[in-house]
Symmetry: C2
Subunit: 106 residues, 2 copies
């Protein structure tokens, strides 16, 4: 049984959940093929952002879809981290540690 | 003073940190311009994944850079969520709730 995150959801728990559920499949597919899936979701996120842009009147389905596309992009990004041995909580220390980036994100 | 997440890092604390630090700038820039920054980091992530691919012998700098690019992509994605009113912890319930997606990510 996969580790089940409880509220509040931690980055570590989410990465473990994605690892438990998808690592075998995604590791076998490899990084290039998994990156393609990730990019497909990035494209769907772009569509959802356009559908919910200022001045639009999105349907309830389009509003819900925006949330889903963010989740899907994060899930594929997390599985890419898993198959490349990247610990996301540790990586995010670039932002969360004092002395890390402050004014800029790049 | 911005809310400072502690270990273990929660999704909510990270989103709040990014909101405190970047919301004003990124909201003023708007979604299209912020999406461009996000995509620039996605490109840098692709480069870092290639540099660390199986068969390569990445330098310590290239290894560290892979971690950084994951963090940067997540940071820009999080700021896109902030300026579009998306709560990432709630969005990720698609994956974390029982009865959510199990076998597929899309």
């Amino acid at each position: 049984m996969a580790s089940q995150p409880t509220t509040p959801l931690t980055v570590k728990a989410f990465q473990a959940l994605i690892r438990d559920r998808y690592l075998a499949t995604d590791a076998a597919r490899g990084t290039p093929g998994t990156f393609m899936w990730f990019m497909e979701e990035v494209g769907e996120l772009a569509t959802a952002l356009q559908n919910n842009a200022p001045g639009k009147t999105p349907t309830p389905e389009e509003k819900a879809n925006l949330n889903e596309e963010f989740a899907d992009v994060i899930a594929w990004l997390t599985t890419l981290a898993n198959i490349n041995g990247v610990d996301l909580e540790r990586a995010l220390a670039k932002y969360t540690d004092k002395g890390g980036v402050e004014g800029v994100k790049d």
